[in-house]
C-alpha cells in the first residue's frame, strides 16, 4: 500500500484552490449578468414573451341632421380554436359546424391545423356566440368585436358607404371621414409561451382603445326617404336604367339627400343587387367581372358621372347674359324652328318654331334659337368667365370621394357652332352636382356654396370636436340678376315647359331638360329637371336625372312631376307654409270652413247639409237612420275639400 504523501495532499489543495478561484470568477460573472445586465436582458426577454393583441376601437356613428343614427356598430363575435388546448376535437367540430352552419370538412381542416390560433368564423351574431360559449368547449375562443351596422339598409347607400374587414371605410362618407370615425385601437399585452399560447392569469398591460368620433350630417333621413321613393317610383314607371336625385339647401350647400336609384344594401355590400344580377342570371361571373360590377354598383353617379346638361343649362346662359347686360326681358326674338350658325343648321325642339317671342317666352318655351342668340351676344371669353365664376371648371368640393370634374372645350378652339351648342347645354359635360351648385348661385342671391354632408364631428360624449366649415364665394352673381333668374324660372314652372312641377302656393321655380345621350340618334335620353322652392326665398333645390327612360322621355313631362311630388312631401315637413294667391285659392279651392253639427240629423237632412259645404267625399258608416258620430268634429276648422265621415245608428 502506497501512502498518501504530503505533496499529494498539497497538490489536492492546489486543485481545490483553483476550483474555488474559478468558482469565484464565475460568481462574479453571474453577478455582472444578474445585476448589471439584468434590466437590459430582462427587457429583451419581455419583448419576446409579450404579444400585442389589438383591441379594435369602436368606430364612430353617423347621424343625420335630426340625430337619427344611420351608421352604427353592433356587437359580433369571432370564433377561433387554439390547437394545443383542444381536448375533444370531434365534439368541437360537431358543435362548431352545427352552430355556425359550416361544413364539417371546413371546420375539421381548421381545428386540426397545427397553429397557435386559427379563426373559424368572424362576424358571428352575439346570440350564436353566446350559445357556443355555453358549451364550454376547451380550446374554443369567443372574442367579442364590433361590426358596422346600417339600420336603414339601403338608405343613401352610395353616400354613406360601408366599411371593410378591418373596419376601415371603403366608399362614401365612411372613407371621407375615416380619420374622425375610426378611433384609436387599443392593445392587450399578454404573455405567451414560445408557441404563442397565451398564459392564463399572466399580468396584462392593457391600453384602452379610444372610440371614434361621431359624424353629424346635413342629410335628413325623411327627405332622403321621400327622395328615394320618388326616384324608385319613376325608375320603375319609366323602366329607366337609374335615377339620380339630389336635394340641397341652396343657401348654404347642405345636402339633404342624394339618391342613386337603385341603391344597394349597406349591410350586404358584396351581393349584387337584383337589378344587376338579373342581367347575368345564367352566367358564372369571373372574379374580375364581379369586382367590376360591384364597383359599378357602389358608384355615386351624382358626383362621379358627367352628362350633357341640356336645356337646364340655359339657366347658366341666362345668368351670364343678364350679368353682361346683353339681354332684357322684353327683347324680341324670332324662332323659325331652327337657327343657322355659320354653315350649320341647329334645330329647335319645336319643329315649326316658336315664332315671334320675348326673352321671357323664350325661356318658358326653352327655345334653342333664343339661347344661341344670347350666347353669341355674351361671347366666348365672357361665357368662360361666368362658367368659371359659377364653378363649372372645378369640382364642387363635396365631401365625398371620387368626384368628377367637367369636360369642357378648350377655350381657343371654340367657334360660333360650339358656342351655340354650349348655350343650350350641349357639347360638354358636367356632373349633376355642378349644375345644382351653379343654379344655386344663380338663385340664392349670388353666393357660390360648397355642397356638403358633414356638419360637425362630436366625441362619444357629445363634445364638439370640430365644426366643419366650407368655402363660400359671395357675389359670383349680382343680386339683381339673381332676382331676375328666380323670377324667370318660377314662370317656367307656372306657365312654361316646367308646369308639371307646379304646386299651388309653394312657388316652385325650375327648368326642364332632355339630353340626348352620346352617341346621338340612338334614342337614349336623360330626362332631367332642376327645381327649387319657394321662389321668393329658396329653401330647397333639387335635381333629378332619369337615365334612359322608355316611352315619353321629355324632362318636362316625366322629370318635373318627380320634383313636384318630392317638394309636395318635403316642403310641409321642412316647415315651408304654402302662400296662395287669390287665383290659386279659387282655382284649387284653397281655404277653410267650420264643420257644422251633423249629430242627431236624419240621413236626408245630413245629405242636404253635406252638399251646402265644400266637403270632398261623404263616407257613411252603420245601418241606422240618425247620425251618432261625425268626423271631423263639429266646430272644427278644416281645409276645403276635406272628406266627411258619418256614423248612423
Amino acid at each position: 500500500m502506497i501512502r498518501n504523501r504530503t505533496y499529494n495532499r498539497r497538490n489536492v489543495f492546489v486543485a481545490v484552490v483553483v476550483i474555488i478561484l474559478v468558482s469565484v470568477l464565475l460568481t462574479v460573472r453571474l453577478a455582472y449578468l444578474m445585476i448589471y445586465r439584468s434590466e437590459e436582458y430582462a427587457a429583451m426577454a419581455k419583448e419576446l414573451h409579450e404579444r400585442e393583441r389589438p383591441i379594435k376601437a369602436q368606430r364612430g356613428s353617423i347621424f343625420d341632421r335630426n340625430g337619427v343614427e344611420i351608421a352604427t356598430n353592433k356587437p359580433v363575435c369571432t370564433i377561433s380554436v387554439i390547437y394545443s388546448q383542444v381536448k375533444d376535437p370531434e365534439r368541437v367540430i360537431d358543435v362548431l359546424s352545427d352552430e355556425l352552419g359550416l361544413s364539417k370538412e371546413k371546420v375539421r381542416k381548421r381545428v386540426e391545423k397545427v397553429s397557435s390560433i386559427e379563426r373559424i368564423k368572424s362576424n358571428v351574431d352575439k346570440e350564436v356566440a353566446d350559445k357556443i360559449r355555453e358549451y364550454k368547449l376547451e380550446g374554443v375562443m369567443v372574442d367579442e368585436d364590433y361590426k358596422r351596422y346600417y339600420p336603414y339598409d339601403s338608405l343613401a347607400s352610395k353616400v354613406i358607404g360601408f366599411t371593410g374587414g378591418d373596419n376601415q371605410g371603403i366608399i362614401g362618407l365612411e372613407v371621407k371621414y375615416e380619420e374622425y370615425l375610426k378611433g384609436i385601437d387599443g392593445t392587450i399585452l399578454t404573455l405567451t409561451t414560445a408557441y404563442g399560447v397565451e398564459i392564463e392569469n399572466a399580468a396584462e398591460d392593457r391600453i384602452e382603445p379610444q372610440a371614434g368620433n361621431d359624424l353629424y350630417l346635413s342629410l335628413d333621413v325623411n327627405i332622403q326617404k321621400y327622395a328615394e321613393q320618388a326616384a324608385l317610383k319613376v325608375m320603375e314607371a319609366k323602366n329607366a336604367n337609374n335615377v339620380k336625385l339630389i336635394v340641397m339647401n341652396p343657401q348654404n350647400g347642405e345636402l339633404y339627400g342624394m339618391v342613386n336609384a337603385p341603391e344597394f344594401n349597406l349591410n350586404d355590400p358584396y351581393t349584387l343587387i337584383d337589378e344587376i344580377a338579373r342581367e347575368y342570371e345564367d352566367q358564372t361571373l369571373s372574379s374580375e367581372k364581379e369586382t367590376e360590377l360591384l364597383n359599378g354598383m357602389w358608384r355615386n353617379a351624382c358626383i362621379s358621372d358627367t352628362y350633357e346638361p341640356g336645356s337646364a343649362f340655359k339657366i347658366v346662359t341666362t345668368t351670364a347674359a343678364f350679368e353682361e347686360g346683353v339681354v332684357s326681358l322684353d327683347d324680341k326674338f324670332f324662332c323659325p324652328g331652327y337657327k343657322k350658325v355659320e354653315d350649320r343648321i341647329i334645330r329647335c325642339h319645336k319643329a315649326g318654331g316658336h315664332g315671334s317671342q320675348t326673352f321671357v317666352d323664350g325661356i318658358k318655351n326653352s327655345c334653342n334659337p333664343v339661347f344661341i342668340d344670347i350666347g353669341a351676344r355674351v361671347g366666348v371669353d365672357k361665357t368662360y368667365y361666368y362658367y368659371e365664376k359659377l364653378g363649372l371648371f372645378s369640382k364642387t368640393g363635396v365631401d365625398l370621394p371620387g368626384e368628377a370634374n367637367s369636360i369642357m372645350h378648350k377655350k381657343d378652339i371654340i367657334k360660333a357652332v360650339e358656342l351655340a351648342t354650349m348655350s343650350f347645354g350641349q357639347s360638354f359635360q358636367i356632373t349633376p352636382l355642378q349644375l345644382l351648385r351653379a343654379t344655386s348661385a344663380a338663385i340664392n342671391g349670388g353666393k357660390l356654396v360648397t355642397p356638403h354632408f358633414g356638419v360637425s364631428v362630436k366625441s362619444w360624449d357629445g363634445r364638439i370636436i370640430k365644426t366643419l366649415d366650407y368655402e363660400e364665394t359671395p357675389e359670383v352673381v349680382s343680386k339683381e340678376t339673381s332676382e331676375i333668374v328666380k323670377d324667370l324660372l318660377e314662370q317656367v314652372v307656372s306657365d312654361g315647359t316646367g308646369k308639371r312641377a307646379y304646386l299651388p302656393g309653394l312657388r316652385v321655380g325650375g327648368k326642364t331638360a332632355t339630353s340626348e345621350k352620346l352617341p346621338r340618334r340612338t334614342g337614349k335620353y336623360i330626362s332631367s329637371f332642376i327645381g327649387f322652392a319657394p321662389a321668393q326665398n329658396p329653401q330647397v333645390i333639387a335635381i333629378v336625372l332619369i337615365d334612359e327612360p322608355t316611352g315619353i322621355y321629355y324632362g318636362g313631362t316625366i322629370a318635373a312631376p318627380v320634383i313636384a311630388e318630392l317638394f309636395d312631401n318635403i316642403l310641409p315637413y321642412m316647415g315651408v307654409e304654402p302662400e296662395y294667391t287669390e287665383e290659386e285659392k279659387q282655382e284649387y279651392k284653397i281655404g277653410t270652413f267650420v264643420v257644422p253639427d251633423f249629430i242627431g240629423k236624419t240621413k236626408s237632412d245630413a245629405k242636404a247639409l253635406f252638399k251646402a259645404y265644400e266637403f270632398d267625399e261623404l263616407y257613411s258608416l252603420g245601418e241606422g237612420e240618425v247620425v251618432t258620430e261625425q268626423f271631423p268634429l263639429p266646430g272644427e276648422t278644416v281645409d276645403l275639400n276635406t272628406s266627411l265621415v258619418l256614423y248612423f245608428d
Partner: protein
Amino acid sequence: MRRTAGEVNKKTIYRYYDYSLLFLILFLVSFGLVMIYSTSSYNAQRMYGNATYYLERQALLAGAGILVMLFVSKIDYRIYFNNLPIIKVKPIIFLYFLCIGLQIYVLKFGEVINGAKRWISLGSLGRFQPSELSKIAVILFTTYIVQLAPRKLDKFTGFLRVVLFIAPLLGLIVIENFSTALVAGVIMVAICFVASKKKGYFVISAFLLIALGALLIILEPYRFERINIWQNVETHPKGYQILQGLYAIASGGVFGKGLGESMQKLGFIPEAHNDMIFSVICEELGLFGAFALILLFILLIWRIFIIAINAPDLTGGLIATGVMAHIATQVLINIAVVTNTIPSTGIPLPFISYGGSSVMVILFEMGIVLSISNQIKGEK
C-alpha cells in the same frame, strides 16, 4: 475526541463514514428533482400530456442511483484493483475494455439524437450514454496506472506513459463527444498532477493540450462556429439557445422570480431541463439561489478534498481527486457555458440536469468516495 488517561491502552478502531457528504449528495439530488419538475413540466405536458413525465423517469433513476451509491460505499474500493477470485481478472481492466468496447459499439450502432451519435438504446428502459461510464473508467484506470509506479510521474515520460494508456479511450470519446473527452482529459491530468512531485512539465503539457484542442477545433467546422457564436451571441442566428439562457439568467435579478415562475422555460429555452437548467435556476431563484447552489457544490468539493487528503492510501486519494475533478469540471464548464463565458459545449450540471446515465454515474462515483471515507480509520 480527548482520551482520558485510563483509556490509553484501550484503543477502539472505528470506521469513519462521511455523513455530511451523504447529506450534501441527497440534498443536491432532491433539489435537482425539484428543478427538473419546474423546468420540464410545461414541455412534458405539451409533448407527452403528462407534466411529471421527465420527473418520474429522473426520480426513478436517481432513486436507483442512490441505492447503488449506498451499496458501493460499503464495498472496499481496493477490490477494483485486485484480481477477482476465480476468473483472475482485475475489475478495473475489465471496466476499461468494456468501455472501449462500448465506445466502439456506439460509434457503429449508436442512436443519433440532435445530430450526435452518443447513445445506446435500451428499448423501453431508455438510453444509455457510454461516455458517462467511461468517465468512471478514466478515474479508476488512471489511478490504477499511476499507483503502479507513482514515482515515475515525477518525470514527463512518466506522465506520457499514463497518457498513452488512457489515450485509446479518450480518442474514442472525442470522435463524437468533445466535451466529455475534455472532462475525462481534465480528470486524467488532475490525478497525475496530484500524484506528481514535480510540476514543471504540466505547464508544457498544458500548452500541448491547448494545441491539441485548437487542432480539434480547426478540424471540425462546427466547433469553430461555436467560437463565432460565443463572440456574437446576440446577433448570431445560432446563438439562440445561449441567448435565451442569458435572458433567463439576467431576468432573474437578485432574488429571482420565484420557484416555478420562469418564463423562459416555456419553450424559449429548448429542453430547459437539460444542460441549460442552471439558467432557469438563476431566473427562478435569482443570484441568491445560484450563489447558494455554487456554494453547495464548493462544500461538496471540500468534503471530497477532506476525504482525498485523509484517504488511507494514495489510491484512495487519487480516486477522490478524480471524482472531485470530474464534478468540479462539469459544474464550472456548465456554468461558464450558460453564462456565455466560454463557447458552448454540451455538459450537464451534475446532480441537477436531466439524464439517467449522468446521475447514475455521478452517484456511483460518490459511492466510491463514500467507500474511501469508510476506509478512513479513526481511533476512539
